[in-house]
């Protein structure tokens, strides 16, 4: 905590003007991309550009105004980055819609995505308005944890859960399908943070030293063991390596940050890699869970699973690679590629669509935007004054980073492919809404962190921080 106390002398400015300026740039990205799609695909600027741009602007300005009022000290970069990604995602989804319409396939994703974005911004606003202090969440640690586990188990309920692309991570209620894992990840971050901030001392201090690594006590292994089992359970029963990796990675990160002991990373990492390898071994030798084994095979040799005379299982990743290669450095331009060849280009594989039409330039820009987002979240964690907030911010940053890594790494064949959405870009309601809430939480924590320390004589209504004496903690 020594870092924090040295920061106490530094007073953050609100920088809301900067945020507004960046938001206008982000809006230009979103509306500009939408116009470029119209020009590239149909040869003219879309007729509804005013209505569309107006709606997008209204959402963004509304979010900005709410931040201005309810979290004036919040990080000024996060919201513009999110707005840019969301706007770009909408444009790319719209571009794919046009291709799908031309091919008589199901389309209209952009329209729905805009609706989801509206709901996401509404929840973002609601979170900021109703959650004035993130520490209030600590009270619901176990409730939220239990809810998260129930949500995670929901897809396993017969008749409710559906299997899409081999992974059972969806539930369907009538015409409405929903990925509960997306919401569960937010709840889990809060639950883990609440649990760990209370038990960190026990986990941190007791233990034995072995080969430069502080190993934890056996009895403290209970929670990590439970989480390990849940993660592997997701892998086995929901057949989704991505979610499994995401939840376990999240848990390890928080464990490490709260205890400051790298030993947990070593133990946990070994357990996960060992467990996953063992499962893969079992899967490939016995044929049980062949889905996982197949995914790994496709990852290792996709070209053996593509084209005539093969099982064509790698059609999606290979088409994505062809598309990204075809895009090259600067991309083919909107309308001049064929990203619609890639199945699910509008959701899991949206990065491949960006790579094809906006090129490596576009992909790197997107990755950098995510990098900035994660960096700003971790910065909030560093500056935050309470352990609970630090853990939540780190956890949310970790979730974003891991999810981006898992999905973009999967699409570009860095790691085996798993079914996760690209935050803010991919078509998908549950993901978009959950991610907007994540940003709201991060802004709330960063507002709290950057806010000048309340003076002890705050009662006498003199909020002039320049003259306030600070008592060192």
């Amino acid at each position: 905590m020594s870092q924090t106390s040295s920061l106490l002398g530094f007073v953050h400015r609100q920088r809301r003007g900067a945020e507004l300026f960046l938001l206008i740039l982000a809006l230009a990205v979103g509306v500009g991309a939408y116009a470029a799609v119209g020009l590239g695909v149909e040869g003219e600027i879309p007729a509804d550009i005013i209505g569309y741009g107006g709606w997008l602007a209204a959402l963004i300005i509304a979010a900005h105004l709410v931040v201005r009022v309810t979290a004036p000290y919040a990080d000024p970069v996060l919201l513009p980055v999110v707005a840019a990604l969301n706007g770009l995602g909408l444009a790319v989804i719209h571009r794919l819609d046009l291709a799908y319409e031309a091919a008589d396939r199901a389309a209209g994703f952009a329209q729905k995505q805009l609706t989801w974005m509206t709901l996401g911004v509404a929840l973002f606003v609601a979170t900021l308005v109703f959650l004035r202090d993130h520490r209030a969440l600590q009270r619901f640690t176990y409730t939220l944890g239990l809810t998260a586990i129930v949500l995670l188990l929901l897809p396993m309920v017969p008749g409710l859960g559906t299997t899409i692309n081999g992974a059972r991570i969806w539930i369907r209620l009538g015409a409405f399908s929903f990925q509960p894992g997306e919401v569960a990840k937010v709840l889990l971050v809060i639950a883990f943070s609440g649990y760990l901030v209370l038990h960190r001392d026990a986990l941190a201090l007791a233990g034995r030293r072995l080969l430069f690594v502080d190993l934890p006590r056996g009895r403290d292994l209970g929670p990590i063991l439970a989480m390990w089992l849940i993660s592997l359970g997701i892998l086995v029963f929901q057949r989704d390596l991505g979610s499994s990796l995401l939840f376990f990675g999240l848990f390890l990160v928080l464990l490490y940050v709260s205890t400051e002991r790298p030993g947990w990373l070593v133990v946990g990492g070994t357990m996960f890699i060992g467990g996953a390898t063992l499962l893969y071994y079992i899967a490939s030798t016995t044929g049980v869970m062949s889905h996982v084994a197949t995914r790994v095979d496709i990852w290792l040799s996709p070209f053996d699973h593509y084209g005539e005379g093969t099982d064509d299982l790698a059609f999606q990743p290979v088409e994505a690679m062809f598309g990204m290669g075809w895009g090259g450095l600067i991309g083919r331009g909107f309308g001049d590629g064929s990203p619609d060849r890639i199945p699910y280009a509008e959701s899991d594989f949206i990065v491949a669509a960006i790579g094809e039409e906006l090129g490596l330039t576009g992909v790197i820009a997107v990755i950098l935007l995510y990098g900035i987002m994660v960096e700003r979240a971790l910065r909030a964690a560093l500056v935050c004054r309470d352990g609970f907030g630090k853990l939540i911010a780190t956890g949310l940053a970790g979730v974003l980073a891991l999810q981006v890594f898992v999905v973009i790494g999967g699409v570009t064949r860095l790691i085996p492919l798993t079914g996760l959405t690209t935050p803010f870009l991919s078509y998908g309601g549950s993901s978009l809404v959950a991610n907007w809430v994540i940003i709201a939480l991060l802004l709330r924590i960063s507002d709290q962190a950057r806010r000048p320390v309340p003076s002890l004589d705050a009662e006498d209504d003199q909020p002039d921080s320049e003259t306030t004496q600070v008592v060192k903690l």
């Binding site: 905590m1 020594s2 870092q3 924090t4 031309a102 990160v253 490490y256 940050v257 709260s258 400051e260 790298p262 070209f303 593509y306 084209g307 290979v318 690679m321 062809f322 598309g323 990204m324 290669g325 075809w326 895009g327 090259g328 450095l329 590629g337 064929s338 060849r341 790579g355 090129g359 490596l360 992909v363 790197i364 990755i367 950098l368 995510y370 990098g371 994660v374 960096e375 971790l378 964690a381 560093l382 352990g387 630090k390 853990l391 780190t394 940053a397 970790g398 980073a401 891991l402 981006v404 890594f405 973009i408 790494g409 570009t412 064949r413 860095l414």
Partner: protein
């Protein structure tokens, strides 16, 4: 808790760095390899809709791209589809054949020769256009060859190849039956698949370029090779040298009726006759005995000197090598002496034989791509003529020429005679070896004998002609004649 958070930051940085490095690897370093994958439909679709260069014969385009109003910008069109189908090949979304395949880089504009053009297109932001390919084909010779095969009764199966002996230029190449490449280049992929299936399963195999892909026993036309081997051996000085003759000949290692070779009643003397007479009368007995006398090795070597057992046509894909096996026994070698047993040849190979004889014994590398041109029709590259091999010595070539001229003037090859021009030629009628398959008619020739401008090989595999009337001279001779006339005049 800040120290671990900083560690996590570095960890996240590494994750994003890995993503960026991997994306760069994929989209920059591997992009080329990914584009070369034949299964990459994006590359295909792009080249399919591109403004591809024309394939030119004379001043006319036999394949060109015209603007299309559907989802692909350009449509490939073949103005004279049947006549040039086997040379141009087709350019479909799914595959390419012929020149469309072998010259794909030039036609699509990807060839390094077109680098400057490509750069200009990129900078001026105009639609890239492919380069053109000028073929060596002579439209008049191609017409004559095509019409000659068309005129045969029924749906004839056969091929004609004409070469310019001094350069190796292919002047005509026709295979029958033909097909319409326009159907394969259609943007209606369902129809293309149907056409491909129909043509692919047709009994007459219209997709086959019989000129370079069908190998059949060359029959008596192979006697030129046997005569060449005899002269080259040194045992026979010239065309007048006496060679074994006789009305019948019992093959070595055989006994009885089935091993007897005859001459179909042609005048082949009773004992030894001049080689020129054996050639004029196409005496099987003479050439069987010559081949036996020369031995399998000399025969094999002479055949390979003319181009057997190898492929040498670089401009068109799928050339079949003509076969002269190296393990023939005595009887098979004797049969090979007049082009039977397991000796086979493509029409191109037989054209190469007469072409080499016409060219003083030197076989030239055959080629069909004369020039590569930019979209503005500037010549970027012109094929240099190169010799392939010395098939026979100049003096042997001279003796062979004398025999072949006499064969047209006084012998079996008379249907190819052109008034006022010395024509050298040889007929061939090869047994298919099967009762239900008619014999194959061959005719090879070149003209004018003293200044050869064209060498022709005609092969008719099957036509609606009564079995008894099938003969190389009667069926193939007139076609060869019309092709030669088309070139000379």
């Amino acid at each position: 808790m800040n120290k671990p958070i900083r560690t996590i930051s570095i960890f996240c940085l590494l994750l994003f760095l890995a993503l960026m490095i991997n994306a760069t690897y994929l989209q920059y370093y591997r992009a080329g390899a990914l584009e070369e994958d034949p299964r990459n439909r994006r590359v295909l679709a792009a080249s399919f809709s591109g403004d591809r260069g024309a394939i030119l014969v004379g001043r006319e385009a036999v394949a060109e791209s015209v603007r299309s109003d559907d989802q692909y910008e350009f449509q490939r069109r073949y103005p004279q589809p049947l006549k040039y189908a086997h040379v141009t090949g087709w350019f479909s979304y799914f595959s390419q054949t012929g020149i469309e395949q072998s010259q794909n880089d030039v036609l699509s504009g990807d060839d390094s020769l077109l680098f400057v053009t490509r750069l200009v297109d990129l900078l001026s932001n105009s639609t890239p256009k492919g380069g053109s390919v000028q073929l060596t084909l002579d439209p008049a010779a191609q017409d004559a060859a095509f019409n000659g095969l068309e005129a045969l009764p029924g749906e004839a199966q056969g091929a004609v190849v004409a070469l310019e002996p001094t350069s190796g230029k292919i002047l005509a190449m026709v295979s029958s039956p033909s097909f319409d490449p326009n159907l394969m280049a259609s943007h209606d992929f369902g129809a293309v698949a149907d056409t491909a299936r129909r043509l692919g399963s047709a009994e007459s195999e219209p997709l086959l370029n019989r000129a370079i892909q069908t190998t059949l026993p060359p029959g008596s036309t192979f006697k030129i090779v046997t005569a060449a081997a005899a002269l080259e051996s040194g045992n026979y000085a010239d065309a007048q040298s006496l060679v074994p003759g006789g009305p019948t000949y019992q093959l070595p290692l055989t006994s009885g009726e089935s091993g007897v070779v005859d001459n179909g009643g042609r005048a082949c003397g009773s004992d030894r006759i001049p080689m020129i007479q054996a050639m004029e009368q196409s005496c099987n007995t003479s050439f069987a005995q010559l081949a036996d006398e020369l031995g399998p090795e000399a025969m094999h070597d002479q055949a390979e000197a003319f181009g057997w057992n190898s492929t040498y046509l670089e401009d068109l894909p799928l050339q079949a090598p003509s076969a002269y096996p190296d393990d023939l026994d005595q009887a098979q070698t004797a049969l090979a002496g007049f082009g039977q047993s397991s000796v086979t040849a493509t029409p191109l190979q037989m054209a190469m034989v007469v072409s080499a004889v016409a060219n003083g014994g030197v076989a030239m590398q055959p080629y069909v791509v004369d020039e590569v041109r930019s979209p503005e029709l500037d010549v970027l590259d012109k094929t240099e003529e190169t010799s392939l091999s010395r098939a026979v010595s100049a003096s042997t070539a001279e003796e062979l020429k004398e025999m072949l001229v006499s064969t047209v003037a006084n012998g079996t090859a008379s249907p190819a005679a052109i008034p006022g021009v010395a024509v050298a030629g040889k007929t061939g009628t090869a047994e298919s070896g099967r009762a239900d398959v008619p014999p194959y008619a061959w005719f090879v020739s070149f003209a004018p004998a003293d200044d050869p401008q064209v060498a022709v090989a005609v092969m008719i595999q099957k036509a609606d002609i009564p079995r008894g009337e099938i003969a190389g001279g009667a069926v193939g001779g007139p076609i060869a004649k019309s092709v030669m006339e088309a070139v000379i005049q």
